[in-house]
Symmetry: C2
Subunit: 166 residues, 2 copies
Amino acid sequence: MRLTTKGRYAVTAMLDLALHEGKGPISLADISERQGISLSYLEQLFAKLRRNELVRSVRGPGGGYQLNREPAGINVAEVIDAVNESVDATGCKHTGNCQGGEVCLTHHLWCDLSTQIHGFLSDITLASLVARRDVKDVAERQDRRQLNNMIVGSDTRPAEAGEAVV
Amino acid sequence: MRLTTKGRYAVTAMLDLALHEGKGPISLADISERQGISLSYLEQLFAKLRRNELVRSVRGPGGGYQLNREPAGINVAEVIDAVNESVDATGCKHTGNCQGGEVCLTHHLWCDLSTQIHGFLSDITLASLVARRDVKDVAERQDRRQLNNMIVGSDTRPAEAGEAVV
DNA sequence: GCAATACCCGACTAAATCAATCAACTATTA
DNA sequence: TAATAGTTGATTGATTTAGTCGGGTATTGC
Ligand code: FES
Ligand code: FES
């Protein structure tokens, strides 16, 4: 099992979409700026998210991505799954053949753990995240900062993610 | 966060020690054979387990490793921790500085997940694993097979882990 | 129709980590 | 004193991460 920036980025980006829902398509450039994630890397991730039908895209100017379902219908577990970061903690992908075709000593422990993690993550939807106080606070800060960057950085300076713009 | 063979091997090996407690020191060669883990790799893992005072060693012939505490006092979380596989799911090691010194959008989510996993794993002790039916079954199979290998393979053939010896 | 926007796609890469091996060493015991 | 078994450090091939780069294609506003 692994949970790295890939899965974290995917969830963060999807949450960003959920937060800005109803404002039309959101461009990856926007997400990149707000969340401090490389644009090219986002493109890779969204290719997978699209293949898994979690988002839909609109091309051309003013285009971008939108959630393909309502936020309440998308849970965190499937987002992580979509970018190929399995939430599976076993070494045998649940086949039980670690040890030369037979179940290893700790197989059941990892199965239990997997169930536990999957249960926890699949109970959390984008909608429930959007409703959280701490998420709202961070989102507000990010939106303010982005607005600031648009004004100050109107000389099209790349404007770094965590840059102190007051 | 990551949970790979390193952490799984460590738990498996510790469980093997717990299962054969009271029979004096257990050599890594024994564990290697029973669990199908490379001997040299086990050496690396046990160096860390020893540094974390989870096991104690006895050198010389008839030597090996023993649990440094009673099985009921060792939980799975600390074993995984000991081999440097943190159970932390955040990208900031709980410092909250993912995004240029500030908390990222999903920080709290990963904190919650970490707490969840840690709670689950630290509630499971080696003693509670030893008591499980499925563990007992696998352990018995392994012991039988090892005995078999000792007789059949008395020509000191390396005897592969999952080899069909019936 | 044409340029700008933004998604789309594949190849490529430096760095890190994994899983394992090898060699040389020291302590202990029969 | 020879065999056993732990101890340590270096090294390795394979894989994965976290990107970058360069070129596409579809859509829109002017
Ligand atoms: S983890 Fe499933 S058999 Fe080992
Ligand atoms: S995971 Fe902690 S700040 Fe991003």
